[in-house]
């Protein structure tokens, strides 16, 4: 993933961007039904009928049917050269002022060699002041407006939507009408009886549970299929498959 520097005023910290979110749903592999070999998504040239390796691929902007303007990585980086390797914090904001409608995707930043102390400082200072740094940076063809905040000693980078991407809520609100004060009081009473602290771990994905049960059931009555080895692999002892599945289920449960 991306690596570069995050800076505020005259301090620059070498960092790497890492994932903060992973898909929690059980993932299946798509296999070739003939030989059970896994399939991989590859870019394919319809003219030559062959797989094209990444170093032979270039981005193209369509200007007409089958007419493209190729744009190289170097040209893309050249569009905003000051932002492609640097996350420059231009100002700090109070996170409470940010409407959640702006939040897009979270990542973590981790310090690279030599940046550990300044990283620690920024994370601690953001925690103490309850502020977030606002910055812009460019990744591939997109520029992101981001908020950098502190989470349990780590720096979290949240990409934000641009305000021009936020749709207006015009026409959503009902016409101003009578509001039944008695009805509000009644709802408030219900709400008060249902107050709790936020505990995200409580809400398991129901489907994941069902898929796990389905898999467990199938493990007992159906043999596994094996993909042909693509490269030489060392053999393993006879596997205890139900135990393997139970371990997976255990891990899934534990990570909730």
């Amino acid at each position: 993933m991306w690596s570069g520097t995050i800076s505020f005023s005259l301090v620059a910290i070498p960092v790497q961007l890492v994932k903060a979110v992973k898909p929690g749903r059980i993932s299946f592999r798509t296999l070739h039904s003939k030989d059970y070999s896994p399939l991989a998504r590859r870019m394919f040239c319809p003219k030559q009928e062959k797989i094209v390796p990444p170093d032979e691929i270039v981005r193209g902007y369509e200007i007409g049917p089958d007419r493209y303007i190729p744009i190289t990585d170097e040209e893309l980086e050249s569009v905003s050269p000051e932002r492609s390797r640097t996350i420059e914090i231009v100002e700090f904001i109070d996170m409470k002022e940010v409407d959640p409608i702006y939040y897009d995707h979270p990542y973590y930043l981790v310090p690279l060699k030599g940046g550990e102390k300044a990283y620690r400082l920024l994370a601690e200072v953001l925690r103490r002041t309850n502020r977030a740094g606002l910055a812009r940076f460019v990744l591939a063809e997109r520029e992101y407006l981001v908020a950098v905040k502190s989470t349990e000693g780590a720096l979290t980078l949240i990409t934000l939507h641009y305000s021009e991407e936020v749709l207006t809520a015009d026409g959503i609100a009902p016409k101003e009408g009578k509001v039944a004060a008695k009805e509000i009081k009644r709802m408030e009473k219900s709400i008060k009886s249902m107050m709790a602290g936020f505990d995200p771990g409580k809400y398991a994905d129901e489907r994941r549970e069902k898929v796990m049960n389905l898999l467990k059931h199938k493990m007992k009555e159906q043999a596994l299929v094996e993909a042909p080895a693509v490269e030489e692999e060392e053999g393993e002892g006879p596997p205890d498959l139900v135990a393997a599945l139970e371990k997976i289920m255990h891990d899934v449960k534990k990570s909730r």
Binding site: T30, G60, P81, V98, L121, V125, I158, A169, M187
Partner: protein, 257 residues
């Protein structure tokens, strides 16, 4: 206002409020296709067999769950279909929490909720009022497009919104980053805090335009006219050395004052 995505009703205790979901965010960006560098033929994604190295059409594909490396349980699409959550129109509110309590890392996408006037609008304004008054949001679950969602029901101004949340096991823990504890002096922290206070401004997102998008469009136009593009090198910053951190902070503070 965008079109209706889904219809349902908010439910808790003896309250039921019918609503329609609308998108709250729309992203527009320049689209690229992937081309073969040598002749600019547009490439397509294909599922390629790792063993035979050939494209495999959908009718010759199967779904497998990998139990251990290279070993799979084959699952029929019909069987998987049975595990999709039952469709329902209910947005079930399970509990209420104080607003601003949810860490932003959990917050996913926001939808606007419109009262479903085809039925009746009673309850909508009252629910907005109650949520505002108590400064709370409702944690709810519902099923939409064959997926179960968890979300936070919020009041914003005069409308209700649904903010979808990420499931707990989708969020990677800070612990797994294995960050080192590094001592930082109180003096450095004090100057750091002063500096941040100096550089703090109200959040005004409209101040930030997507300049890059406009510049990128210019670059494309330039190339379309056959003009030469000057390549600029990315700016690289020299990292601040640990023993120069205090000095850099002091200089920053001076600059900001």
């Amino acid at each position: 206002m965008s079109g209706t995505i889904w219809k349902g009703y908010i439910h808790f205790k003896d309250t039921a409020v019918p609503v329609k979901l609308h998108a709250a965010v729309k992203e527009e960006r320049i689209q690229f296709h992937l081309l073969h560098r040598r002749d600019h033929v547009r490439l397509h994604q294909q599922m390629i067999c790792a063993y035979e190295k050939i494209p495999v059409p959908p009718e010759a594909q199967a779904k497998g769950f990998e139990v251990e490396e290279g070993k799979y349980i084959i699952v029929d699409p019909e069987e998987l279909e049975q595990t999709t959550p039952e469709s329902s129109r209910m947005i079930a509110v399970h509990e209420f929490v104080k607003t601003k309590q949810i860490d932003p890392i959990f917050l996913d996408r926001v939808y606007y909720l419109e009262p479903d006037t085809d039925l009746h609008t009673e309850g909508y304004n009252e629910l907005v009022g109650a949520l505002q008054e108590l400064a709370v949001e409702g944690i709810c679950t519902w099923t939409m497009r064959k997926r179960s969602y968890i979300g936070a029901l919020q009041a914003s101004g005069r409308i209700l919104r649904l903010n979808t949340l990420r499931y707990a096991d989708e969020v990677i823990s800070v612990k797994s980053l294995e960050l080192q504890e590094i001592p930082v002096s109180e003096r450095e922290l004090k100057i750091g805090c002063d500096l941040i206070n100096q550089l703090t401004a109200p959040f005004q997102p409209q101040k930030f335009e997507n300049e890059h998008q406009k510049r990128l469009q210019k670059l494309i136009d330039k190339k379309a006219r056959g003009e030469k593009v000057v390549l600029l090198r990315p700016r690289l910053l020299q990292p601040t050395a640990s023993d120069k951190l205090l000095q850099a902070l002091e200089a920053s503070l001076k600059k900001a004052a």
